[in-house]
Structures are given as C-alpha cells and as structure tokens.
C-alpha cells in the first residue's frame, strides 16, 4: 500500500511539522536540501543511498515550502497595521459579498485584495488579503469592484479584519477589475438563487442553497446545531461527498443520454472545475475537485486507479499550495474519513465474509466514523455514536436532494412552469432531510458532550491506525520481493 507517492507525502508532512518546532534559516535549509539532492543524483544507481538522500531532500522540501508560505512579503499590508487603528486603503473585492447579522446589526462580508494603503501621508503599494465587514449595508458591492475604504482593524486569528462602521467610509472607484470568468460564474448564481427562493419555502430553500450553491451562511442556526450534534454536519459543507454525488448524478444522466464514457469523463471534469468556482472555490471543494478529477483522468488514460495514490497526490497538491492546511480541521477530517473508508471497509467486509448491500453501507459509515470520531471529540468536544446510523440515512437523502436539485435547476431555468413542477420534489426531499436529522437529534444518548481528549491520545489513535496500514504494506512488500 505504501506507494512512492504516499511515502513522499508522509515525508513532506513530517517536513511541514518539523518547521513548526525547529527554526532553521531559509537559506541554510535550502543549501542542505540542494546538497542532499546532489548526493541523490550521484547515488542514483544505488537503491539504498538514493532512497535515503531523496527522502531527506523531500523532507526538507516540506519544511522549505512551509517557510516560504509563512514568509510575509515586505510590502504585505499586515506589516503596516495595528489592531484597533483606523486605516484608509484601496483594493479589489475578491469574493461575492454575503449578508450577515450580529446583535441585530446587519453587515456584508467580503474579501478584499489590498492594492494601496494610506500610510504616513503617502500611498504605499501593498499586497495581501483582508476580510471586510461592512456595516454600511446601503452600499451594495460585487466581485471585481475596486473600493476606497476607511475602517478599523479588528481582532482576528487568521486574515486581518477591516470593520467599516459609522465613522468609516466605503466608496466605489471602479468596476470589473476581477477575473471575468469567475465573475460570469458568480453572476450565474443569482438567477439560481432567485429560482430556489421563489419556488421553495424557507427553511428548505436555505438548506438547498447551502447544499447546492455553497451558501452555508443561509442555513438557520437551529438546523446547523442538529446536524452538528448528530455528526452529519459534513453534508452542509460542500466537500468530497458532494462532489462525488454531483459527479455520479451527472455520470448517470450523461450515460442515459448515450454519451461515450471518455467524453462523459471530460465533461464531468470540466463541470466539476466550474462547480468548484461556482461554490466559492473553498479549500474542501478544491481538494475534492482535485481528487475526483484525478480519478476520472486515470479512467480516461486507462491507468489502473490506485486509490491511495490519488488520495496522496490530492493531499500533496494541496499541501504544496498551502502547507498550513495540515493544521486545518476540514483537511484533517476529510482525509481521515477517506483514508479510514478505503482502509477499514474492505477489512470489515473480509472479516464478516461478504455482507449484504446494507451491511456494506453500514461498514462504510462505521469506518468513516472511526476515522473522524477522535478528531471531532478533540475539536468540537462531541462524541456522537448516532452518526453511524444517521449517516446511513442522511447520505442517501443528500444524494436525492442533489439529484432533485439539479433536475429542478436545469428545468426551472428553462421555464417558470417547469420550475414550479419540479420544486415540490425538492421541497419533499429537503423536508425528509430535516425531519430525519431532527429525529436523530432527539434519540436519547445519541450524542454526548465530552471533555477534550489529550493530544497524545488522539495522536496515539491515528498512529495505531496508520501503523497498522504501514505494517500490512510492509508484509506485502516482503512477499513481493
């Protein structure tokens, strides 16, 4: 099972982790990795030495990528700001503004790519992103708008926050500065939102907008809570599961239309890339899009699809792009879930000797739960055994919601009559989803609030899981050699 790519991924991850604990200057680290790379070139014919030197080089590459990623540009906007201070800057809106409410105050939230900062009575050219919370909601902005803003720097752990309150201002200076393709995709969302809102009653319309369009902020808090406590919150965030379900719905439709499988795969890859932009290209969606595109590409190139390779390549691409993703809860949860599904499910099936279809579904749910339960307990202090059963019902319901949603949107955009014809099926499946989650939420002892488990216990658990997988693979290697 330890393929070259999985092995490289493990080394790369260790390099990222090392960077957090040991501080070595970038150029020293760079020089050492070059030396090991040269040694690997010299010993390219000697298997043992080559593996040793190239492994060290990959490990150091992980640390270097993290260092480079964490290095802040000299002209980065955050070098010139202080929390609580008012600043004046200009920049371009990089995300579709969303409306929110905080203690009866409405605000719009969007991401701004900073361009110029008013600093010491001069304009300084800057880089970097800032989240803008605009309390002056009378002004409506869009992706690609160039703005001139005065606001106050707020408290945050991640991206800096710029609050535009009564004392600040926000002025539009130009339009259409963003990427035109992304803008077109974002604009295309508006008629779909309108279609959902006019044909389906709330909160079902909010749930559908969250599931299909990635408008998660619209999902009411009480529903959010029920999904969270029953361990099914993952269906509200567009991730691997959604992408997989969307891809399978499209695959079924295109196959039924008689489109050849190769063309079918190309269309689905293109569709998934568009869908990724469509839902705001957040990290889980990008991750899932990479994974499914790789799956389909391997099918297209008629290569044997090794699931661990695909998983490792997806993880490597994401970590090279942003090594800090390794500390992201979503990243950890989705890879832990996928890894335990592909590793544990076949073992359960083997142990229980050819279980029925429902038995197999149960083992998939159980494996996923075993993979994520310690992480959920660690991050959210919730232990929900009901999740094993809940996912068995909720995931097929999600599939039906996505399938009916795609049908409703595709036909609804053609004619209002078709929209009103297909809307009830959408409402019905989303209502079923709400009812089932509520029922699982009410099951006594379905979930418990637990104290946060110790870090070393969680690490020990995953160490055992990965160790078991590694041990089996070593056995296989010995057998083959």
């Amino acid at each position: 099972m330890i393929s070259p790519i999985s092995f490289a991924l493990i080394l790369f991850c260790l390099g990222i982790l090392m960077e957090k604990f040991i501080s070595i200057p970038f150029f020293s680290l760079f020089l050492i990795s070059i030396i090991f790379l040269i040694l690997a070139v010299i010993k390219v014919d000697k298997k043992f030495y080559f593996i040793l030197f190239i492994s060290i080089a990959i490990f150091l590459f992980g640390a270097l990528t993290t260092k480079e990623n964490n290095a802040v540009c000299k002209n980065h906007f955050s070098n010139f700001i202080k929390q609580g201070y008012s600043i004046i800057l200009s920049g371009v809106v990089k995300s579709k503004p969303v409306l929110g409410k905080y203690y009866n105050k409405t605000f719009s939230l969007f991401m701004l790519k900073t361009d110029w900062l008013y600093y010491n009575d001069q304009w300084l050219k800057t880089t970097g992103l800032v989240n803008v919370i605009n309390y002056k909601t009378k002004d409506v902005f869009d992706y690609g708008d160039e703005l001139f803003i005065k606001g106050e720097i707020g408290k945050t752990k991640r991206l800096p926050i710029l609050k535009v309150k009564k004392t600040g201002f926000i002025k539009l200076t130009a339009k259409g500065k963003g990427n035109s393709l992304i803008k077109t995709i974002l604009i295309a969302k508006d008629p779909i939102r309108k279609l959902i809102d006019t044909n389906i009653a709330r909160p079902n319309s909010d749930l559908l907008a969250g599931i299909l369009l990635g408008d998660r902020h619209r999902i009411p808090e009480h529903l959010n809570k029920r999904f969270k406590k029953t361990g099914t919150i993952h269906i509200l965030a567009i991730s691997g599961l959604h992408i997989g379900l969307v891809a399978s719905v499209l695959f079924l439709v295109f196959s039924a239309l008689g489109i050849p499988k190769n063309i079918n795969s190309v269309i689905i890859i293109l569709f998934l890339i568009i869908y990724c932009f469509f839902t705001g290209s957040r990290v889980p969606v990008v991750r899932a899009t990479i994974m499914f595109s790789l799956f389909l590409l391997s099918f297209l190139l008629k290569k044997e699809n090794q699931i661990y390779n695909t998983l490792s390549i997806a993880a490597l691409i994401i970590l090279i792009w942003n090594p800090n993703q390794i500390y992201n809860v979503g990243f950890q949860l989705s890879f832990a879930a996928v890894f335990s599904i592909i590793y544990l499910t076949p073992r359960f099936e083997k142990f229980f000797k050819r279980p029925s279809y429902f038995g197999r579904l149960f083992f998939v749910s159980l494996s996923a739960w075993l993979g994520v339960a310690p992480l959920i307990a660690f991050y959210f202090k919730i232990f929900s055994p009901i999740a094993i059963l809940a996912n068995l019902i909720i995931i097929p319901l999600l599939f039906l919601n996505i399938a009916s949603g795609i049908t409703f949107i595709s036909f609804g955009l053609m004619h209002p009559f078709l929209a009103s014809f297909f809307a009830p099926s959408c409402w019905f499946f989303s209502q079923l989803l709400i009812i089932s989650t509520t029922l699982f939420y009410r099951v006594p002892y379905g979930f418990f609030e637990v104290p946060r488990p110790a870090k070393f216990l969680v690490l020990f658990y995953y160490g055992c899981l990965f160790g078991l997988a590694g041990k089996n693979s070593l056995k296989k290697i010995r057998k083959t050699s």
Binding site: E68, C73, S86, W123
Partner: protein
C-alpha cells in the same frame, strides 16, 4: 520510493529540483521586494485628499458617543460628558468650548484639536 526504476528516479530528481528552485525564487522575491510609495492615489481624482482629510476629522456638533471615542484621549465617560454638554448648552460655537467640560485639560485639548471640526 521503494520500486522506482532509474528513469523514474531521474524524473523525481528533476521535479524536486524544479520545486526547490521555484520555492527559492519565490522566497527571494517575497523578501527582497522594494516598497513603492506614491504621493497621489492613482485610482481617484483630485478629491482624494479632501476625502481623507474629512475622514480624519470629527464634527463635534454631530458626532455620537461611539464616534467621539475615536478621538485621542477620549474614553466612554468623557464622550458621554461631551454629548451631555451639547444637549444642555446647545451646539459648540468654537472648538475651545471643549475645555469647559470636566476632564478636558489643555494638554488633552492640544492633542485632539487637529482632529476636531465644527460644522
């Protein structure tokens, strides 16, 4: 890693070399960039400076408590006293009237007078 042919090993070395060069170059560009300053904001017209100047001053005849607290040396209690003074005595006719308020000494007034206007 364990089953690589010679050709695959060479490809791996090449990929890693390109990766290292790219990371090195990116780091160099990030840390060695020069700061660019401009006297005028390139995106806006002549009114930029007046917008900025206006945004940096506070009209004490109109500002509420939250706005007044943006001024240097003014906390919630002094802001409250300014609002109460305005309510009792009417609008300020000159900014020096601020010194009639309890807690506003000459030093504090000197610090904030450049940020205050009367309209």
């Amino acid at each position: 890693m364990l089953y690589l042919s010679k050709q695959e090993r060479i490809v791996l070395i090449a990929l890693l070399s390109f990766g290292l060069i790219a990371i090195g170059a990116r780091f160099f560009l990030k840390t060695r960039q020069n700061l660019i300053f401009n006297k005028q904001y390139p995106g806006l017209g002549k009114d930029t400076q007046s917008i900025i100047r206006k945004s940096q001053t506070i009209n004490i005849n109109k500002a509420d408590m939250e706005t007044l607290q943006q001024l240097p040396g003014i906390g919630p209690s002094l802001a409250k006293r300014i609002v109460e003074y305005r309510r009792e005595n009417g609008e300020f006719s000159q900014i020096e009237d601020l010194m009639n308020i309890k807690g506003m000494g000459i030093k504090k007034f000197e610090k904030l007078k450049q940020y205050v206007i009367i309209e």
